[in-house]
Symmetry: C2
Subunit: 428 residues, 2 copies
């Protein structure tokens, strides 16, 4: 059995997990998985970090090029993230004929076509299971076990930070700022939480999942994303009163008009399996025309869970190198489906308005909705502080275009102090 | 691209689903999955069934040998089930150098080693994703994405019939017989429900999962199985009062003493994701040392879900034939771990006794438990009919050996009319 040499770029959270798994189980992989892996080169900015992980100087370098240009390296593992240097690294490794394993969602959601084309041109694998859902197997199942299906929809709770925050808000009544501070204190959220709380992280992940599920390229730029900044404990309480939970859901659907893809805070029925996914856990709900409804649940982040997926990919890639069958399953975007305009979306909505508590306000707002063809299913008005009222509407199905137009006019009404939150209701 | 010829044996529930998927998506698989599949031969006892599925006489035969001996057939799909003819069919196909795809849990749980050895000797694939969990991808994820883990435990709700019955009993208060009759009327249970309600179906499935998870062969005969015949709505009510649900759980655990594997009605915390799996749905909960806790959920039976897995395997096998890389991942039972004796198991128990409602009974029973070292955590006594009492005990952790010995003596007490139910409590 020939040894497969691995070069690792980036010794951060995921990279250190990869080093740990390889050190813990490397010998077992020889018998259990039939691959003999050797971690021959590691690149990072910090020699101290490498030393702390037990990587001796002979295997360490601060120069990424040393890994890519090392002719003994079979598999380059890119764990630096982002779309700048990482893109150069991945393309450089592929051009050097090396297999690539990456956990980089931003890269795959933005330059996925480019790097997969390069891999195909070189006849090597690029694997990226860890880019979505941490350790949860989802990309491999979509490309293999579920390939017999026409996938109809993918719904993901794919951002652990916001799911932790929403769970704390729902179960303990925390407000947004307190929940965010706690997520930051526990290391679940960055100092700048934008990528998580504004839905951008989830948008990159659903772009990757939708591309595979629908055999048609979806990029990060294609995904309209809304985050959870506007959600209050009272929104969650309203939702629960009517049998719903609020989750940040990344959605991809195959429709007659094309791919409906988006991220936003969403009301889903409390009895649905996705509604029970709490804390930092992730889950991806997949509906296929043969398999029916399936769900993949697990830890969506963290050093060892993400490294579990990365090392799973390394082993798979090593098997393919040994078996001389790289590139067996490459890019599966064989079709070119249009991306739906979010303005064309038809769904029902939850909208919370802050208004003056005075006669005629409700009628005025309802009038505007009616003029735009938005029909109201229910309304709750509650007294708020300083003579204000909190008005919560649930609409029947309406076009997003009409809903947005109505809200622009509602927001301009003198008696309306602000539009608190707008959520979509998803009957899945 | 060379056409891969498929021979299908068995046109029953799953077989008809396979025919439907191939007819629905066969052309798409060429572009989307890169394989050109042709269903060239189908064997079944019933020509009428074949005709109803649109299989013209030229492709149909009543002789299984016609499929196995057809030199044009690349992949034989065995969907007749059982361990008799099916074993001959699978071994015969492998010996003829053909790849095999099967949904046969009994075969894989009983003769798994034999058929996988034969596949290895011939250098071909044998794939069996549909043998556990219907359409849920679980075998492929264990052998690929999660291969980087030392798997610590696998918990499965893998029998949809009993899960449907327990759900109806829990949510609508049906008794066992009524729930069974309904399951039969809806086609979820056979006229002879033994395999389902006595846990044998689940035992075969956990044997397969444990073999893969722990890299060590576990067979059907290794799995002590208990079923749900003794469970009453009052057991479920007692469980719920203390925050538990009762599920038929198939369990495999890696322990210092070997593999702890078993099937039985089990109390699990209501807040655990497995406890929320209701109706005919299945779920497999996998704990690995890197990935942490993961769950795979979906439809565990039915024509199209099971066929989804079968066709997924066919496509995978076809890719391997085209890429000339069959047998890349064969048998992974590379170790020989002992199977734990169930008598050595230590857990806590729920036991319901029917006793005479007279002074001293509780003390007598408690005395017997104490003599066997079984310590009691709680007891509830309720009046039953005809001067009897229903006594429910929850024990602290005790050895199964001691618990069984204590129950033998308790059952012989004059005041004890019968042991109603014995369940294990699993703190997962």
């Amino acid at each position: 059995m020939r040894t497969i040499n691995v070069g690792l770029i980036g010794l951060g959270t995921v990279g250190s997990g990869v080093v740990e798994i390889l050190s813990r189980h490397g010998e077992q992989f020889v018998s259990r998985a039939g691959v003999d892996l050797a971690l021959v080169r590691c690149a990072d900015r910090s020699p101290e970090r490498a030393a702390a992980l037990g990587i001796e100087p002979a295997r360490f370098t601060t120069e990424i090029a040393d890994v890519i240009n090392d002719p003994s390296v079979d598999i380059v593992v890119e764990l630096i993230g982002g779309t700048g240097v990482a893109r150069e690294v991945v393309l450089g490794a592929l051009k050097a004929g090396k297999t690539v394993v990456t956990a980089n969602k931003a890269l795959m959601a933005t330059h996925g076509q480019e790097v997969m084309d390069e891999a195909a041109a070189r006849g090597v694998d690029i694997l990226f299971e860890a880019s979505v859902g941490g350790g949860i197997p989802i990309i491999n199942p979509l490309k293999h076990s579920l390939v017999s299906n026409e996938i109809q929809a993918v719904y993901g709770i794919v951002n652990g930070t916001t799911n932790f925050m929403l769970t704390r808000m729902a179960e303990d009544g925390l407000d947004y700022d307190t929940a965010l501070a706690e997520a930051q204190a526990r290391g679940f959220a960055e100092a700048d939480p934008t990528a998580d709380v504004d839905g951008f992280d989830a948008a990159a992940k659903i772009a990757i999942l939708a591309s595979i599920a629908f055999n048609s390229r979806v990029t990060f730029a294609d995904v309209p994303a809304e985050g959870i900044r506007d959600i209050t404990p009272s929104d969650i309480a309203y939702a629960r009163e009517t049998g719903y939970e609020i989750k940040l859901v990344a959605i991809g659907k195959r429709t007659a008009a094309g791919i409906d893809v988006r991220v936003g805070p969403t009301m889903i029925r409390a009895s649905h399996p996705l509604a029970t996914v709490n804390g930092v856990y992730n889950a991806i709900y997949v509906i296929g025309d043969a398999v029916g409804e399936t769900m993949f649940f697990g830890e969506g982040a963290g050093s060892l869970p993400a490294a579990s997926a990365v090392v799973g990919d390394i082993i798979e890639a090593a098997r393919h190198i040994q078996g001389d069958c790289q590139g067996l399953v490459g890019c599966t975007c064989t079709e070119t489906l249009p991306i739906c305009d979010i303005a064309d979306l038809e769904t029902s909505y939850y909208v919370r308005l802050d208004a003056a508590d005075e006669p005629g306000v409700l009628a005025a707002i309802a009038g505007v909705f009616a003029e735009h063809g938005v029909s109201l299913a229910s309304v709750i008005q509650r007294q708020a502080d300083e003579g204000g009222a909190e008005i919560v509407w649930i609409t029947h199905r309406a076009a997003e275009r009409d809903m947005r137009a109505a809200l622009d006019r509602v927001g301009a009404l003198e008696a309306v102090r602000g539009i608190g939150a707008l959520l979509r209701v998803e009957e899945l």
